[in-house]
Symmetry: C2
Subunit: 425 residues, 2 copies
């Protein structure tokens, strides 16, 4: 396998250096570069000062990357100076791109009309945004800021900072002919997502299967309640990649729940819709997180009936129908209450599937018998099918609640997989 | 004002470079550095390869920062090599720290007993983790990995990668005497959070008030539905800082909703608890997000009764008591339905305050009259107090839903502020 192209990302934004906003662009770009077979080796974030941007860019040019992608600093005002600094550092003259000027002028003329401001105010900014280093290629803007591809020993791709604009311009840049040599080594990928299995176990099985000894390149990454395995390989190593993936699937069986990047809620909503089933939730400690994650999927309204956030015990009794005696006998955080919540959600909201969650999210409210992090979950479906789970989640209140919601979604998935096996639904 | 100390952060982690996990450490460190008057100038992330880590560290040492903070690569195995690489790049010998060895050995002995593995398996790792460059100071571990402070032209603080361990060890490092000279210039801060006001308006008023001409250093940062202003100043510039903050408060009045870093849900839960009021929600497009954000605050169980996720129209009717005629006359996404949801939540769940949200989250379901992003919100309280809001949020489904939930929380805050003005509650 020939050497893979290398890349670095340069992000600008004072708010990131102050810790006030999180850089969302580099993660998106990182995933896209990986898909296109480019090895991302460094991400650098600097504030908006000219000397900092210049120093970081010089370091990256000295690093010999095949590709440098920059994010931000393309606005119409004088303190957006990414293009001028790149021109300075690379020694390229700035020149006006007439086509870009026409395109941006048309866009800002529309803005001016909408907002009822004189277009003359916006034209100097448009002219500034249409300047490019000699020999570079303009990528049409998603907002007003066009992107640029600057060929050289390191190809520099210049992108606007707003995440949706960046994503659009980046997709267009990828299709530009000058990018083709960088993308020639695209690798095939197998993605396996394994639920409820320790990362160390996955890593051990991976090594027993021979690891990356036969030309594959694999990452094993643990996130909440799941381990994600991405196996990358050139066509010549396809047998090795396939053997690895199949070996993991054989080993982990039903714990391998997806072979793509879909979050579990997308899987669940798609599967419910495909089968014409509906769902409702009754949530205590998660307080709406399961319903909200289901509703995050476009088209959820076809399957999600709704839910009850049963935080107070009398809401569990009155609005979900949990018998007071069960709460008194077993406590609000118990398998029995989780099951009663699931059954109540299903019955009261007239859905095919019901989800119940109850737990001790902390930091207060724990006891020796029912410690912080203890969560009971239940999912009930047609024909008396059900799934129950008791877990003790580590971490803080947020971690316990997010992991509980995720576990609830996985229980629905497990129920759907079981239901699939029976012939009569 | 003397020159502020400068800093850079070096994060290691292949998963970050692959875009599979997000770096959460640098944001936390960035905020802490800012609070301690240190100017963070660069954040660098590299994968776990030795040559990449070495090159990035060399670049940062050449950058002349007063402080370099590293995150990750301190584990017990051979592929955790941050300390060895720092020793190599700085030319310092590695030496065993006997005290650290004793501390780590005690920790892993405890682990071994808990997990029933022979402690001998863990001792080589403990010894590896107790190695330090000559002249450096060990910071006690939160897990098994101690931190290090390595004095020099650039002071290097070496921290473990897991976010909770990193936060703990960083807090301890800050109190070490060798850090004192770096922290001597701590600045005072005024934080103002301004709701529902364009960033450009805040920036204009800030400039009209004289901006940073008198020794202050201000950042203005727009996030969801709010603009956050942080004014930093040395004691000598306190009058200027105070004048700026007071000027902004005078200008923006009730839109300035907080003078600290508390999220709005913390403000709301604290205020409800202080006044002994309870709350319930009936949510359509947000599908539980408002309730879940309230429940994210420790102690929410004292004020949150619960909620109803009224996704399907018949759930709105049957479980919240929204009259069918209102849905038929005005449509499910209407001010009237939002108000009926809020009143229904309050009445059905027997709370003091009710929240209602209904909207078109998209991408489907929009029309010319009711486009994607249109959201109606209502909050009702004691004595017929109420707040209503109609907004059209830009962005995708996720943005519309998150902003809607946030707007709902702000409406509760506004209601509480109004209620506070009347004498009889």
């Amino acid at each position: 396998m020939s050497r893979r192209p290398t890349a670095a990302i340069l992000v600008t934004g004072s708010e990131i250096l102050l810790g006030r906003t999180q850089d969302r662009n580099s993660g998106m770009l990182a995933r896209s570069l990986d898909v296109h077979g480019i090895r991302l080796e460094r991400i650098v974030a600097v504030d908006d000062r000219e000397e900092h941007l210049r120093a970081a860019l010089s370091d990256l040019l000295a690093g010999g990357y095949d590709l440098i992608v920059t994010s931000g600093g393309l606005g119409p005002t004088h303190d957006d100076r990414t293009v001028a600094i790149i021109a300075g550092v690379t020694g390229l003259e700035l020149t006006l791109d007439e086509d870009a000027l026409a395109e941006i002028t048309a866009i800002v003329t529309g803005y001016a009309a909408q907002r009822n401001v004189p277009v003359q105010q916006l034209l100097p900014g448009a002219r500034k945004q249409a300047m490019k280093p000699v020999g570079s290629h303009v990528i049409s803007p998603a907002g007003t800021a066009p992107g640029l591809i600057i060929p050289g020993t390191s190809t520099i791709v210049v992108l606007p900072g707003p995440p949706t604009e960046l994503a659009d311009v980046w997709q267009r840049a990828l299709t530009h002919e000058v990018m083709a040599p960088l993308l020639g080594t695209q690798l095939e990928r197998r993605v396996l997502r394994i639920w409820n299995t320790p990362e160390s176990t996955v890593a051990r099985v991976f090594e027993e299967l021979g690891g990356d000894d036969h030309g594959t390149e694999t990452s094993i990454c643990a996130t909440r309640l799941e381990v994600e395995v991405v196996i990358r390989f050139a066509p010549a190593a396809r047998p090795a990649g396939t053997a690895l993936a199949d070996g993991l699937i054989t080993n982990f069986g039903d714990a391998v729940y997806a072979e793509d990047d879909r979050p579990v809620e997308v899987y669940v909503v798609d599967e419910l819709e495909r089968r014409g089933l509906t769902i409702a939730c009754a949530e205590s400690c998660t307080a709406g997180l399961v319903a909200a994650r289901l509703a995050s999927v476009p088209g959820a309204s076809n399957v999600l009936r709704g839910g009850i956030v049963a935080y107070a015990n009398d809401v569990k009794v009155e609005h979900v129908g949990v018998p007071t005696s069960i709460i008194e006998t077993y406590g609000a955080v118990s398998a029995e209450v989780a099951l009663a919540l699931a059954n109540g959600a299903r019955r009261r909201l007239n859905s095919d599937i019901g989800v119940g969650v109850t737990g001790v999210a902390g930091p207060g409210g724990g006891s020796a018998e029912k410690p912080v992090g203890l969560v009971h979950l239940a999912v009930v479906g047609p024909h008396s099918t059900s799934q129950v789970l008791e877990r003790r989640f580590p971490g803080d209140r947020e971690a316990v609640r997010i992991n509980s919601a995720l576990a609830g979604l996985h229980l629905v998935r497990l129920l759907l997989q079981d239901v699939r096996l029976s012939a009569d639904v």
